[in-house]
């Protein structure tokens, strides 16, 4: 994990300097301001290489800084990791006063604060909760301030290098007429110069290291990229890592298309051996693991729409080999594949997964490309460049931003619809009163009230997403990112100020399958069979099922998603269709190109579960919500094919990614090498979109609770990310253990 906030990372003087630059720049314009602030940041925040490294490219995110996401969105100030009033480092009274003044200044000036303030009253009214890192998810929906899901054009970078970028931007600058474009191009040019400055800085740092073969290689790679396009694999890797680091972009996209040709060339000319390449990759992976949080750091390999496929495949094999050797929870290696692709890739992938590495995650292009085409309303060729990033959201490589700036808890919406807009366990009023379950005449009325509640929040979802883009665009040009985003230079506009081609966003939905299962159970037991009355159910839920155990059992045993059961799956699809269509529909009048549901997961399912009352699927208050598009823990009892069939049912062409986790006992791939492949291949032939496979054995997980030190290498998939099992908090560990293992 990135250590991006430590006790007083770079000191008060640094924070003051950055703030002064911000103030000075504000007196001119956003482009100058960004340049001045970035000049304070770089190379100051860069971390020096160790003598064991082959590559350079690490940075700190101090208390005050500028970045698309890490640290905070845009200009950020964050001292929450240390109490400014009582820091570990001893401050004089004057210094304390100065920190306080800085905090006051930034509480109004931080980009996120400005965006929040500029929200229209409509949004503020419906989203009163302020997202605080997910610590206390008390409301059914939130706006989130971040710019995740940025994927810069590394291919262009690799092809033309820093020198090429400089030439390109200069050319645009020389031909620009309007002052806005001129200002943007100037700042863009500065951002390219800044990369050079950082390369030079690292050359200096590498020279300070004790001389060795490694240091020499490092120096050669750094010198190689200073002016020219990378000519070797090492240079390519170095350039990519450094530029991503400076830009603050934390997913890598289709690296095989960038690095494949360089690696192929090195291999053909005998410049480096397979082992040397692996050594480089291992250093690359290790740095990613140390630098980037586990929800991100995706590297995508394979799939349709790659120019030099043979070369790209060679890199893909190298990347999988590295994953196999290292047993790290990072990077999140992602394999896209299609019928007719080089068989070696998927075969190697199954081998690596079978060994319990959780990677690569598999994405079926034969289903996903047409689905993306439809969902994003783009042509086939464009759809071929879809990229799963972060926890599993899709975006279009260097042409869209996939950031989810809106999250909604569907199960909480259902409980509000059952209880006059009040939360069941504490009667807190959180939504309009559309009625209560006791008053609805039939199931359709309940469903209608639920849908109205969801829509009430979604109506401001796309708007919030748009206004965050707009606010960010006004404040932050993100010039380096803009240089590497298609269209921005051509239009003479920075990314969020009209530069980006597809201004879209995503809506993270939670508790989808709890909602579906609850609705199925209510339909069956309350309305169809009339086994329990609506009042009884509400009373039982209020009591968190205490004293209503038989009833809870009945609701638990009602049909559940994940069993290939038509009743349960049809309900799931209804819930899915509604939230997906309403989300996309909410773009009307906002200026967004698309706004799509993503059914992914970080640990929000566990955190939000804490505030979500007992539910009619038999879940207790506080228990985690179902992660991603999985079945509720332990409720998938019909075998793996049944789960896979269920998961393949919801329409993939109306959303931007849904994660499917399955847990397979490690004995399964070990003993049934062929069947295990055939099983998942068939799932994909049947329309499966993607899968994330954890192979573990339950005994190991339980043993790891007791003697964690023995299980440092045990990797598990938690919704949208992989983690060392022993690093997870107890609640999440229990959640993982409770999932059905096949």
């Amino acid at each position: 994990m990135a250590v991006y906030r430590d006790v007083d990372v770079l000191g008060l003087d640094y924070a003051k300097k950055f703030t002064q630059a911000y103030k000075a720049g504000s007196a001119q314009n956003k482009y100058v301001r960004e340049s001045l602030c970035e000049d304070v940041q770089f190379p100051r925040v860069l971390v020096s290489p160790r003598k064991t490294d082959l590559l350079c490219g690490k940075r700190l995110y101090p208390e005050v800084g500028y970045s698309p996401q890490v640290g905070g969105m845009g200009f950020y100030f964050d001292t929450t990791s240390w109490d400014g009033e009582n820091p570990v480092i001893k401050y004089s009274q004057t210094e304390l006063e100065e920190w306080k003044a800085l905090r006051e200044f930034w509480s109004n000036e931080a980009t996120a604060a400005k965006c929040l303030k500029s929200f229209s009253p409509e949004i503020r009214g419906r989203l009163p909760g302020v997202y605080d890192g997910g610590k206390n998810l008390d409301y059914p929906a939130y706006a989130l301030f971040r710019m995740s899901g940025l994927q810069v054009n590394l291919k262009k970078l690799g092809n033309i290098g820093i020198g090429g970028l400089e030439e390109e931007v200069t050319c645009f600058l020389n031909n620009a007429n309007d002052p806005e474009s001129v200002a943007f191009f100037q700042s863009a040019l500065h951002s390219v110069f800044r990369i050079k400055k950082c390369v030079e800085y690292y050359i200096g740092k590498a020279q300070e290291l004790p001389p060795s073969q490694k240091t020499e290689k490092m120096l050669r790679a750094l010198s190689g990229i200073l002016y020219q396009a990378p000519a070797t694999f090492h240079e390519g890797l170095q350039l990519v890592l450094l530029v991503q680091t400076i830009a603050g972009v934390i997913n890598f996209g289709r690296l095989d298309t960038v690095l494949g040709p360089l690696w192929e060339n090195d291999l053909a000319t005998g410049r480096i051996s397979w082992e040397e390449a692996l050594e480089l990759m291992e250093n690359f992976y290790t740095i990613i693991e140390e630098e980037i949080w586990h929800f991100d750091g995706r590297i995508v390999i394979g799939g349709v729409g790659r120019e030099n496929e043979a070369a790209a495949d060679k890199f893909a094999m190298l990347a999988m080999e590295t994953t196999e050797r290292l047993s790290l929870p990072m990077p999140q290696l992602t394999l896209r594949f299609y019928q007719g692709q080089n068989e070696e890739l998927i075969s190697k992938a199954y081998d690596v997964i079978g060994q319990g590495k959780t990677f690569p995650m598999l994405y079926n292009d034969d289903v996903n490309v047409p689905a993306v085409e439809k969902a994003f309303r783009i042509d086939r060729q464009t759809a071929e460049q879809y990229i799963p990033f972060g926890c599993g959201e899709y975006m279009i490589e260097n042409r869209s931003c996939g950031t989810p700036n809106f999250i909604i808890n569907l199960q909480m919406c259902l409980e509000l619809a059952m209880n006059n807009g009040r939360r069941i366990h504490d009667q807190k009023r959180l939504a309009p009163d559309y009625g209560a379950i006791a008053n609805y005449q039939n199931f359709e009325q309940l469903l209608g009230a639920y849908e109205k509640t969801v829509t009430y929040f979604l109506e401001v979802g796309a708007l919030a997403q748009y206004q965050i883009y707009e606010g960010t665009g006004k404040e932050c040009p993100f010039s380096l990112i803009s240089v590497l985003y298609d269209n921005c230079l051509e239009k003479g506009r920075s990314i969020f100020d009209g530069g980006i081609e597809f201004l879209g966003g995503t809506n993270e939905t939670y508790g989808n399958n709890n909602t579906a299962d609850s609705l199925t159970a209510i339909d069956e037991l309350v309305y169809s069979q009339r086994k329990y009355s609506a009042e009884e159910l509400l009373t039982a839920l209020k009591a968190d099922w205490q004293g209503y155990e038989t009833m809870q059992k009945a609701f638990r045993e009602a049909p559940k998603f994940g069993n290939d059961n038509d009743t349960a799956d049809r309900m799931q699809m209804r819930v899915h269709d509604h939230v997906c269509n309403e989300t996309q529909g909410s773009i009307v009048g906002t200026g967004l190109h698309h706004f799509l549901v993503v059914i992914i997961n970080n640990n929000h399912n566990t955190l939000w579960g804490r505030q979500t009352s007992a539910s009619a699927d038999g879940r207790n208050h506080g228990d985690p919500l179902v992660p991603g598009n999985s079945a509720a823990a332990g409720s998938d009892r019909n075998g793996l094919t049944a789960l896979l069939n269920s998961q393949a049912k919801p329409d993939p062409s109306i959303h931007a990614g849904a994660v499917q986790n399955v847990k397979v006992s490690s004995a399964f791939p070990a003993k049934n090498k062929d069947l295990y492949r055939v099983l998942f291949n068939t799932y994909f032939l049947q329309g499966g979109t993607q899968i994330m496979i954890t192979t573990t054995n339950r005994d190991d997980l339980i043993a790891a609770l007791e003697t964690p030190e023995k299980y440092a290498n045990l990797l598990v998939r938690v919704g949208g990310f992989s983690a060392r099992f022993i690093d997870l908090d107890l609640a999440t560990q229990m959640e993982v253990i409770s999932r059905t293992e096949y």
């Binding site: 290939d564 019909n638 075998g639 793996l640 094919t641 049944a642 069939n645 399964f668 003993k671 049934n672 069947l675 055939v678 099983l679 291949n681 068939t682 032939l685 049947q686 096949y742």
Partner: protein, 255 residues
């Protein structure tokens, strides 16, 4: 299809990779005339409803469930296995079930103790692609003692099937100290030579997983059974034995 034909099942396992070739759906029928002391599924022995999920089902609904994984069977060379209990305890249901599966083009396997009337066994021939046929004990006296039923009719049925060119996999549960005497092992090894049409001989070393069910049923675990699972050494010993006896058809499973 006789839509309202009903049967009693104890469970359906989809994605089974241990009940015959490929990816299969295993349907467990309730009821068994035997009482093997090592039985892993004691809950299926009595023809009772409501215990451990045993329930009355309509044939059409079970067939529909089986058809859901057609794609998986086709690609993996799998199909449906009818197991139990003893499926031939519900002969009408089982026969009709086999027939319906064949109509749907699904590979069928019948997991049987072989204890059934010849007329029924004969009728299954037409619709059964593979028999998983138990061979438990060699000595007739011990057989009666350990399973509460005689061996003779079972062996006759086996011979009948093999003579009629049925594909048979012999399934031999081995319980240390109970039925793993040298004599029995030799007889198993001898089966391969005696019946060239046997597809395979599966050795299934005993495991204690079923014990908890006895407790839940309020029954005692037989005192002759070993305390723990079959050891790794024991499994190696079985393997060595069959290699020594040159029996290439024998596959000794892990626990």
């Amino acid at each position: 299809m006789s839509d309202n034909l009903k049967g009693i099942i104890s469970d359906i396992h989809r994605t089974s990779v241990v009940d015959g070739p490929g990816i299969r759906t295993a349907v467990f029928l309730q009821g068994c005339p035997l009482r093997c002391i090592w039985c892993h599924n004691p809950e299926t022995q009595q023809m009772k409803i409501g215990q451990f999920g045993s329930r009355v089902v309509e044939l059409s609904e079970v067939v529909a469930e089986c058809k859901k994984d057609l794609a998986y069977y086709n690609v993996s060379g799998g199909g449906v296995t009818i197991s139990g209990g003893e499926p031939l305890m519900q002969p009408l249901f089982t026969l009709k079930f086999l027939q319906e599966l064949k109509k749907a083009g699904i590979h069928t396997a019948l997991d049987t103790s072989g204890y059934a009337s010849r007329t029924i066994v004969e009728k299954t021939l037409l619709f059964t692609d593979l028999y998983l046929f138990d061979y438990k004990v060699t000595d007739p006296l011990s057989h009666s003692e350990l399973t509460k039923r005689p061996l003779k009719g079972i062996l006759d049925n086996l011979e009948f099937l093999l003579k009629n060119k049925a594909s048979v996999i012999l399934r031999c549960p081995l319980v240390p100290g109970v039925n793993d005497q040298e004599e029995h092992l030799q007889a198993i090894a001898g089966m391969g030579n005696k019946y060239p049409s046997l597809v395979q001989v599966d050795i299934l070393p005993w495991h204690s997983m079923g014990n908890v069910k006895y407790i839940k049923l309020g029954r005692k675990v037989d005192s002759h059974l070993p305390r723990g699972n079959v050891s790794k050494q024991m499994i190696d010993h079985y393997r060595a034995f069959f290699i020594e006896h040159g029996c290439s058809k024998v596959v000794v499973r892990d626990r």
